[in-house]
Subunit: 234 residues, 2 copies
């Protein structure tokens, strides 16, 4: 999507979790000239560490930031239910199979995109950026290109902006990148990696064992760039 | 969708606003044998009258009921913003034109369906019922068949149940009915019309002037059935 700076800066909503991918996406959108409004969700995650990261990243990028609280009253994911154990190093297994991990939160990205869409229509933003990635990922169905294509047709058919032929665009700049490619892009855009948080667990340091730590570590190692968050065993 | 009672009752989520259409939809789903869980939203409406109605209707139908609070921190609709006046008798004008009224809430049904979908996956429900209607309606884009078709492809591509080829079905039994047809169906199903609330304004009695009152009144008059909520000027 071309952002014509002569017409003034177009607004964009950026879904910001506080992780590596969403931070890189924010810096990418900003680099393309968009006036970014960040949106994060407090949805009953096990810890608030990533929301703290999101806050700091939005501030470092000089962008607006809102946190929406949406406590889902139902369970069904190890990310929400402390009684379900997060299984370690799932990523390594997922590389072989194609199963959906227990960290899947039913409908999560659909809910997030719906709110972003509502926000976008309310402030007349042109685009929603989301750091979904379908290469080095855990197998979540709501991270794959087909889902974003389908959501695009929801916008075209089910919103005022869509009916008026000016649909908000869903932008997934990382969707086909490897994790190393994301680290390289983030590095070029000077993303403050030290502020990001990817680990599913809270704590002072990343656990180094969960799916998210596994892919992050893989990305930094393959890109040959040190991860400021922890010492890597290469 | 056939609900095979020999296999036990399948669960369904019913989006229940408290109005005529959603109440009729609930009674329809229940009549089809579904074990219904009702879901309502407290999203910053001007009044809580319809939520009280929803509560009573769910109780009268003997179904579970949850109210989710999702205050949108942005405005953009006369239903949410008391500074924007709700324009009266919009329906009569909408019959001639095709404009989207100021009561449109950006992304509302998309947000509602996303939560319903999340709930459905969490409790393994087979269907989501929504009382959308695209005949005697105000012109909201998220009430038309094309939108529900598009949302169906979001479910097939972006959820665990979809990937596993058991997608939750979106059921819109009223979509092609006239308001009179809805009143007739509701009457057959013994919907407690006296508990429903359709008016955009709060108060003890319906205003009789807003879009929603207009269509409701039209439906009861054309069906030749008295509306227990107010005396009609025929």
């Amino acid at each position: 999507m071309k952002n014509d700076k002569r017409l003034g800066r177009a607004k964009a909503i950026v879904l910001l979790s506080g992780g590596l991918d969403s931070a890189t996406t924010l810096y990418y959108a900003r680099d393309k000239g968009f006036l970014c409004e960040c949106l994060s969700f407090d949805y009953g995650q096990r810890h608030s560490r990533e929301l703290d990261s999101a806050k700091r990243i939005a501030k470092s990028a000089g962008c607006g930031h809102r946190v929406m609280k949406i406590s889902l009253p139902w369970k069904g994911s190890s990310l929400l239910d402390k009684n379900i154990k997060i299984r370690g190093a799932k990523g390594r297994r997922a590389l072989a199979g194609n199963s959906i991990p227990d960290t899947y939160v039913p409908g999560r990205n659909i809910i997030f995109l719906s709110f972003a869409l509502s926000f976008a229509e309310a402030i007349k933003a042109k685009a929603i950026f989301i750091g979904a990635n379908a290469v080095d990922y855990s197998g979540y169905p709501d991270c794959r290109p087909a889902f974003y294509t389908a959501f695009g047709s929801v916008i075209r058919t089910g919103t005022k902006c869509g009916v008026e032929k000016m649909p908000v665009k869903i932008m997934t700049p990382l969707i086909n990148k490897t994790k190393a490619g994301i680290v390289e892009l983030g590095s070029r855009l000077q993303v403050p990696f030290e502020l990001t948080w990817s680990c599913y667990a809270g704590g002072l340091n990343p656990c180094g064992r969960c799916d998210s730590c596994f892919y992050r570590s893989k990305g930094f190692i393959e890109a040959g760039i040190p991860d400021p968050l922890f010492i890597q065993e290469v």
